[in-house]
Symmetry: C2
Subunit: 143 residues, 2 copies
Amino acid sequence: MKRTDVKSHCPVNFTLEAIGDPWSLLILRDIMYFGKHTFKEFVSSEERITTSVLADRLSNLEKHGILTKQPHPTDGRRDIYMFTEKGLGLVPILLDMMEWGTAHDPKSTGHRKRTFVSRIRKEQGSLSREVKNKMRRGRAVFV
Amino acid sequence: MKRTDVKSHCPVNFTLEAIGDPWSLLILRDIMYFGKHTFKEFVSSEERITTSVLADRLSNLEKHGILTKQPHPTDGRRDIYMFTEKGLGLVPILLDMMEWGTAHDPKSTGHRKRTFVSRIRKEQGSLSREVKNKMRRGRAVFV
DNA sequence: CATCTCACTTGGATAATGCAAGTATCTATG
DNA sequence: CATAGATACTTGCATTATCCAAGTGAGATG
């Protein structure tokens, strides 16, 4: 039995079924932050995804309606991958991940984007603060 | 070679090295949303994590400074897992995941928390909108 | 002190991933 | 218009991770 065989309708679990593996998120990062759009560009990323896994993840992200594939307008060999509107809903998650990674890795390249990262921090408002305070007191969101 | 053997200092990748597998995030969800704190409680979650994977993930999350383990004050068999301050920095990510999962799963239990979810949505402010608009025009954050 | 509870470990089967190589389609060049 | 190079994949095999069931050891309970 695979993990995703148990269908809970917890919204966090639903999100994880779509993007809950590292490679999928790295692909989304490549598009969102670096403007990559093709198979070849994804393969060339620092983290060295293999072509078999990349093909699998791209088709998953398409299946989940997060990415769309279009033929390149002039070069028929290429396919262009882009976010759908549903995919764009993941932007806040990717922003928060950039913020956290920058905050906790002294060597992070995020430090070169200080003003951008502090803008992310500002979007984390009163609700986040409220939840954190609750948890500091040993409580939980729904308890 | 494992994925995490390639050390990029991309902040998103750094975050993924810490919590980039589904089980870790489900553990954090259990603590944050449901107030679970012990091994037994995590095992009893809907998604059926196995004890071997749970033990592995808990020690990883401890190693990354996201969770701390304390002995139960009265029952010496139990250990209490709680978020550290570093771990609390992940709260916005977990909130955004709840928001997205609720928005895209018609059967989501998140629909029972409408006012809470709409508060999450309100925290996603002008920066997210700006990034999304850029991407709709085929551009990227840093391009 | 026998039994139960809790937090793990261990071992063996199954599934996912990594790696190298190959294929099909399209483009660019002589 | 044949040939070489690009691009987006597949395929096959070795390695690694996960699942599942059962066991262990320390502490609680009656």
